[in-house]
Assembly symmetry: C2
Amino acid sequence: MKVYLDCYPCFLKQAIQAGRLVTDDEETIKKIIEAVALKIPNFPKESTPPEIGDEIHQIVRDITGSPDPYRRVKDANIEDANQLYPDLKKYVETSGNRLYTAAKVAIAGNIIDYGIGRDFDISTEVFTLVDRELDIDDFDDFQKALAQAKSVLYLGDNAGESVFDRILIEEIDTPVTFAVRDIPVLNDVTYEDAIASGIDKVAEIISSGTSAPGTILRKCHERFLKLFRDTDVVISKGQGNYEALSGINRPIFFLLRAKCPVISADLGVNDGDILLKGMNIPEMVNYS
Amino acid sequence: MKVYLDCYPCFLKQAIQAGRLVTDDEETIKKIIEAVALKIPNFPKESTPPEIGDEIHQIVRDITGSPDPYRRVKDANIEDANQLYPDLKKYVETSGNRLYTAAKVAIAGNIIDYGIGRDFDISTEVFTLVDRELDIDDFDDFQKALAQAKSVLYLGDNAGESVFDRILIEEIDTPVTFAVRDIPVLNDVTYEDAIASGIDKVAEIISSGTSAPGTILRKCHERFLKLFRDTDVVISKGQGNYEALSGINRPIFFLLRAKCPVISADLGVNDGDILLKGMNIPEMVNYS
């Protein structure tokens, strides 16, 4: 997805949010704002939002000296999600269609980053969302593709959400590789967050190689890229991965909640909608 | 009011909004964004938001070539407000306390700029607000001050809102001078907008001398400054004038709706609250 005009104010907002997680010193955050503002005219025209996010979060790390501004937020979210895990498992196991319910659980988990900086009861929000119908529902294609697949690549999004991803992975009867960010960026899931979410029990974990808050292919490791090319089914979680990959000509299933008006408009959905959306699916089912 | 950190993303938003009123050419608006972003590190530390707004709207005028991006919005708002005028007059005339009701009408008129870029029924919104209680209500001081005053300086805010200001001015038994912006900026009221709002029938109209969307004293004409110093009662409408004058040591009555979280926090009120708030009033009542 291209950078829209309305993304620019939001880049400053994100930088302020990240800075505030490390310090309440206004001068430091002002420095971050100034550094990001000076970068704005230099972002390449063809950038996607996560590429710019990559640079912004580098600025935040440089100026605050913190390698992981969202550390405490991520720990709290993983802990909350792990506590919900048994209830969610039961919910899936007693449902009519386990794979479908698990996919909805994974999508519902994408609300995790709503919680930053505000009162937020994950349990209530998640169960409300899981009971809702999907606004875009390509589950039939998803199920068909998984039934035929010999390998699945699952692109993680937020830490904490990763516990919900584990629940979906546990319903997939094919070896799954779970890709994480190379270093901490935003509240995105890293290798250690994936371990803390129990992903190592159900999937191989690899780094995509990028430090961006989205899977920017030209910044990924060759090992990841080979997997991305060769894997039968790619599942992409969250907005950042959608922004990075929506323009890529490859079958991908995007599982996410649309949480930003710009992304919602790009997807042609309403803010708050929950989606299991296949892209380039005809090509994918060809290989079967 | 100082510039808060959260103001910076909003400066970019304002610039985009103003640019879009003139053109849908993304390249042009991108140029505006870049020019504003480059200015951010150079804004003097002691600036108030309207001083920065002054520079931003200068950039928008320079890059788009439009001397008045909000012209059509302002014309529409003045027309809508003029159509409401007879109903509002009747409402005031049949009320228990004409001055109080007129003050509430003038405050309700401060929602006019909510209408930019969205469906908006001024009539419904205004009458809903007028029926609400004020969240800060210093009307007793206001009434007392007006009863003792020999001169009133009324600082206008938005075009269209100016019709509602006329209704309040008509209930004040003291000569009123109505101050407007020197040139078009945002949707603020200028000399010609004030005439179109019928203000010339009830008050003398003068320019404050500033092109900022707020009464920045160090940018005002000497004639205005003399009036500002010598006038018995100053009535300040809207957020921009509050931002410019909240730090000034002079009795002022601020009439506004708090429409931005940063200003609401600065005022210690909730977003959406409606206020008739006196500042430095003890000094003011001393002269009586």
